[in-house]
Symmetry: C2
Subunit: 294 residues, 2 copies
């Protein structure tokens, strides 16, 4: 009888308090805390917006369709979280880094855990498509010392803007994926192809919402990294091409100033010969700084 | 480039502002307003709760399962809205009544539009189950004058706690449903069976949530009404049995003080004879006051 004796019956005025007092017997204190916050914000939002019954039903229908669009291969609620900036916010909250350490960004749905370890300098472009690209740099600690034995897991789309797992049977397995391990100098280098911007899946309710909001579904060109090393926090991040047309309007808000890399076009014959390239290429030099484990 | 030039890139601090500025080209001003409120409250909630990545994924999974549980016959997102008090809040906002008018409550999912019109005094209990009940009263305006020609659409569960549409082929069609029309005196009366409390469907994610929150899934016994009359606002409401064990803890928060009715047990032989009952019965007398159309 808690809600009646303490709060009276539900009214427009006391609505959130009545619902929250009903949850007083929650077995889990964390769940109670989360539901308290959800309930307060949900009720405050409804009071601000004052939806009609038709608008409320439209919201119910949107959420239902978002669920129906989701299956083992497509997660429309994660897309919704992405385009509302919630995924990036959760990432930011969980990855506050000390000054000087490289910043994180969203993992995204296309990482695979079992990419092959390759020798430093390998070409992860297995389909031969795209503009030749050399990526290199060092893994450092916040004092600038090289990190030995860092595991660098890298992945990107091919030149058509698709990850290998989106085109099983069309792209070679593990196309544009590789795991590299640093030596004593903390250096890494590998060959790939200049990444391209690509749209997030936009044939579902989230794509329709983006359309209604006058927004495009594109992510600017980027490379994904997970960098792990003993004694350091794991870094999940991207690097971005600052010249990409979508770099200021990433559909999922993943871009940070510090994640910009320079994609330098190299046409100099000496440099081409020195790196044993077959012709002009893009060169990206980017160091990553790992935060010590706390 | 709006978000970058005006707000800078997305950070933990400016997150909601960056997302909202991205929606500036929304075609529909109402949609932009709604998304502004949703975004601010969603980001504020995430900042309050600080979910781990695992908790965030648990929320995504919960919403996905809620979508997957929903189909043409089951609407799990409406149940979620119900148990969070959102359905009642939307009802309250859309049905602010002038002083003296009867209050509304939720429609619920079991109304059918084509129930048969029956002569006043009919018995809507077609399966012969339950405790005999006479329901009567008047439809009035806010000055206390009777409303002529009011259409009263009434429905309730049978004595097993199920609506006819939940037990197609088991219950007679239109069991415990009827439409009645008032005469010059505004009076109505019909026979039914004393309603019972029943659980909302709790074999899905919303039922699991209720369980984790230490809440039962029951609605206290009630009768549903839709009352329509020319020149008046349509009233969607219930009456409740104040002695029901769940009346202070309705799973969907539908109870209001003014919606309590008295269920009087009548065993007096003269009264039984006068209303031509076959034996003792419950008698419920409840007037409804309609608000004039604005």
């Amino acid at each position: 009888m808690t809600d009646q004796t303490e709060q009276g019956y539900f009214t427009e005025e006391n609505s959130a308090d009545v619902v929250i007092s009903r949850n007083a017997k929650a077995s889990d204190a964390r769940l109670a805390q989360v539901m308290d916050s959800i309930t307060r914000h949900l009720h405050a939002m409804v009071k601000e917006v004052e939806p009609t019954q038709e608008e409320w039903l439209k919201a119910i229908t949107f959420l239902t369709e978002t669920g129906h669009k989701s299956d083992d291969w497509r997660q429309e609620f994660i897309l919704l979280s992405d385009v509302l900036g919630v995924s990036m916010l959760v990432d930011a909250i969980n990855n506050r880094k000390p000054s000087g350490a490289s910043e994180s960004t969203v993992l995204g749905p296309f990482h695979v855990p079992d990419a092959p370890e390759r020798p430093m300098g390998s070409n992860i472009c297995l389909d031969g498509k795209g503009e030749r690209m050399l990526v290199k740099g060092r893994i450092l600690d916040t004092n600038g010392a090289p990190v030995t034995g860092a595991k660098i897991d890298v992945w990107q789309t091919n030149d058509d803007g698709f990850y290998d797992v989106q085109q099983k049977g069309i792209q070679p397995d593990f196309n544009f994926r590789g795991v590299f391990r640093t030596g004593d100098d903390g250096a890494y280098w590998f060959w790939g192809a200049k990444p391209r911007s690509y749209p997030i899946p936009d044939d579902g309710p989230v794509g329709q919402l983006l359309g209604s909001l006058g927004r495009h579904p594109y992510r600017p060109a980027h490379l994904h990294y997970i960098i792990e090393a003993a004694g350091f926090e794991t870094l999940v991040t991207h690097i971005f091409d600052p010249d990409d047309e979508y770099v200021h309007s990433d559909a999922v808000f993943g871009v940070k100033e510090s994640l910009m890399a320079e994609f330098v076009h190299v046409a100099d014959a000496d440099r081409i010969a020195k790196v044993q390239a077959e012709g002009p290429f893009f060169e990206v030099t980017h160091d990553f700084v790992l935060a010590a484990e706390t």
